[in-house]
Amino acid sequence: MSYAIEVKNLKKSFGNLQAVQDASFTADAGEVLSLLGPNGAGKSTTISMLSGLLAPTGGDASIMGHSVVSEPESAKKSLGVVPQDIALYPDLSARENLIFWGKMYGLRGATLKQRVDEVLEIIGLVDRQKDHVDKFSGGMKRRVNIGAALLHKPDVIIMDEPTVGIDPQSRRHILDNVKALNRQGMTVLYTTHYMEEAAELSDHIAIMDKGRIIAYGTHDELIKLVGRETRIDITINAEGGRVLEAWRSTEGVARIDALDGTLTALVDDSNRVLPRLFDAASKVGVRITSVDIQEPNLETVFLHLTGRALRD
């Protein structure tokens, strides 16, 4: 059992819809693996199978070496799941919720109490622990939602889009929590459709689209898929034809196209190339009115692989 999470040819169909098709990936113990993909990619369905909620149509997965199909109870013991939607009892307090969920993971007595106190500390809600959850802001609910999965100190924690629809401050808090948990040795499977989060948190990233894992690797490995070229979008105060020719022959410009009023250049190093573009424009009497530089990122990778944007 060398992997904390191992997913092998996992499949799930809902009637005719193949929500997950032959997904395979692994996570080493102690790493953060992000599952990045747009809405409807099949992330939640994959996670539901990993957490024992849905039976796979085919394939298997294991958590700490325990198959979710043949030894679901053992797999669940090693696992903490943070559902995409808040799953708490609104009419119970934060503390009561944590106590209840701790009991469901088999904690009792002094250990339970101690873990609840620790988790309240981690999620930063010690002061509000006696308030009913329905009195909480969205961000606070999300934190309790996460806390409930940490009580039994699982080896593996799965978080399904934990930052959707919350304020930047809570989001920061959650991302920092993820890093802290990971530093303590927890393996984290983190799903998101925000490429910034995947880039910030992950050791490895699996990109998912239409039920398939379409790319897997470290952040840098994935970026290399699209080359290292930077994209520069430029608008000018004149018709493009005049300057286009001059720019095409500028050193360091791999390619330049005019697309509805915007000129898009792919260059090897924007720091070196941009001054030359300004010079060339001045020579032909054209003013540059805006410049937008985009270093290659996961968004570009997704675009490159699927022809579509990650977010719509």
Binding site: L53, Y89, L92, W101, M104, Y105, G106, A148
Partner: protein, 422 residues
């Protein structure tokens, strides 16, 4: 252990639901108390009541756009003409206040009831300035009081309907669902039928009508008649609300499924049978506590003797099994908690009515017959036997019937649940 944790969690949540507490404890006790006090601390002895001549001036007209089918004044008027009171009330119509006043002065009638033209409109608008005038022959005492009580109790009924209606709309709005306007008249109709029956039962003889106004009773044997009637009335309430409470508590399964906590429970190392069993246990416990509280309250607040220990226990246990069974079955058919208000309202009210729960103190052959086919009907049979002081041996059959019904309904419901959630 986890079973108990789950049950305990559900019980804590129940105690935080004002609606559930209201329906489980407050409503049945309040309704019984209202009936109790409308009997004015209960009469003693036989009452010899002369026929009362009542003159009715009904000027009330139905306001535009009203959901009612007839003005309230008409209901009040017809109460005095109802055949159930003909043995002791002789009613006649008068065209206006002046002619009625003349008739009272001439002692042709003992009491005149004058209902003003905008009565329905004002009453429903909550405007208490418009009043029904009751003119009385000063030499009479009991007749006018009875008449006044009849009017008041009918109006209380209307107000009660309003309250029930408000609960229904608030409940459905809380569920994010506007009440279909088409169902409003049906609701009022159902309610008024029930209330009319209730009224008939209360005023069908001068004896009972007189009970309304008699002076406070001395403790003693003569209260028996009324006491047994209170027993019947309260057992009707007890049964209705026990079934309601069971169903409502069982709904927490749907709620959990909607809140996502059921799915989350399934991701913990807790097997599904444990989870469902814990939830059933909570419902069972809720129904037991509710029954125990209501039975105790009935005993000490209303002096109801529920029966011999054995008979009492058999009735209570039968009621418990049947409510949990029916609750499981009902909830297993419901798709979402949004539907629940309507299904419970509809199914439990209908079953309650045809089982005679709302008319428990009178004999209605059709209800007795239909009651043979409903769990509520059998619970009522059991309580009637127990209240009548029958020994436990007489309750074995109803108990067995209830246990069987309970087990069958539970089994079918639990199977449907398992198929759905496990």
């Amino acid at each position: 252990m986890k079973i108990l944790d789950i049950a305990l969690k559900d019980l804590i949540r129940s105690t935080r639901s004002l609606f559930l507490i209201g329906m489980a404890f407050a409503a049945p006790l309040l309704i019984t108390a209202l009936i109790y006090f409308s009997f004015g601390s209960i009469a003693s002895g036989n009452v010899d009541m002369p026929t009362i001549n009542v003159g009715v001036v009904n000027l009330d007209v139905l306001p535009a756009n009203s959901l009612l089918e007839a003005p309230l004044g008409e209901s009040i008027r017809s109460m005095f003409f109802d055949e159930s009171v003909q043995s002791w009330i002789h009613a006649s119509d008068y065209p206006d206040e002046a002619s009625a006043r003349g008739a009272v002065n001439a002692q042709e009638i003992g009491v005149a009831v004058i209902i003003p033209a905008s009565f329905t409109e004002d009453y429903l608008a909550g405007n208490k300035d418009t009043v029904i005038t009751i003119l009385q022959d000063p030499t009479l005492s009991i007749g006018p009081t009875v008449v006044r009580d009849m009017v008041t109790s009918l109006l209380d009924g209307v107000a009660g309907g309003g309250v029930a209606f408000k609960v229904l709309t608030e409940r459905s709005e809380a569920n994010g669902q506007a009440l279909d306007p088409a169902t409003i008249p049906t609701f009022f109709e159902t309610y008024s039928t029930w209330y009319a029956n209730f009224q008939r039962a209360m005023f069908h003889s001068p004896d009972k009508a007189a009970l309304v106004v008699k002076s406070p009773a001395e403790k003693g044997d003569t209260g028996n008649n009324v006491q047994s009637m209170m027993g019947m009335i309260m057992s009707g309430q007890l049964i209705f609300f026990s079934f309601f409470t069971g169903a409502y508590a069982m709904m927490s399964i749907l709620q959990e499924s909607e809140e996502g906590t059921l799915a989350r429970l399934f991701t913990t190392p807790t097997n599904r049978t444990t989870i469902l069993t814990g939830k059933f246990l909570a419902v069972l416990f809720t129904v037991i506590v509710q029954g125990a509280v209501l039975l105790t309250a009935g005993r000490y607040l209303f002096n109801i003797r529920w029966g011999e220990t054995g008979s009492f226990l058999l009735s209570f246990m039968g009621q418990m099994f049947a409510s949990v069974g029916l609750a499981t079955l009902l909830v297993s058919f419901i798709k979402s908690s949004k539907q629940a208000g309507f299904v419970f309202g509809g199914a439990l009210t209908t079953l309650g009515m045809i089982s005679g729960l709302f008319t428990a103190n009178i004999q209605i052959a059709a209800f007795d017959l239909m009651g043979n086919f409903t769990p509520q009907g059998w619970v009522l049979k059991a309580w009637k036997l127990s209240l009548a002081g029958q020994p436990a041996s007489e309750l074995v059959v109803p108990f067995l019937v209830l246990t069987t019904m309970g087990i069958v309904m539970f089994a079918v419901g639990a199977m449907l649940f398992r198929r759905r959630f496990a």
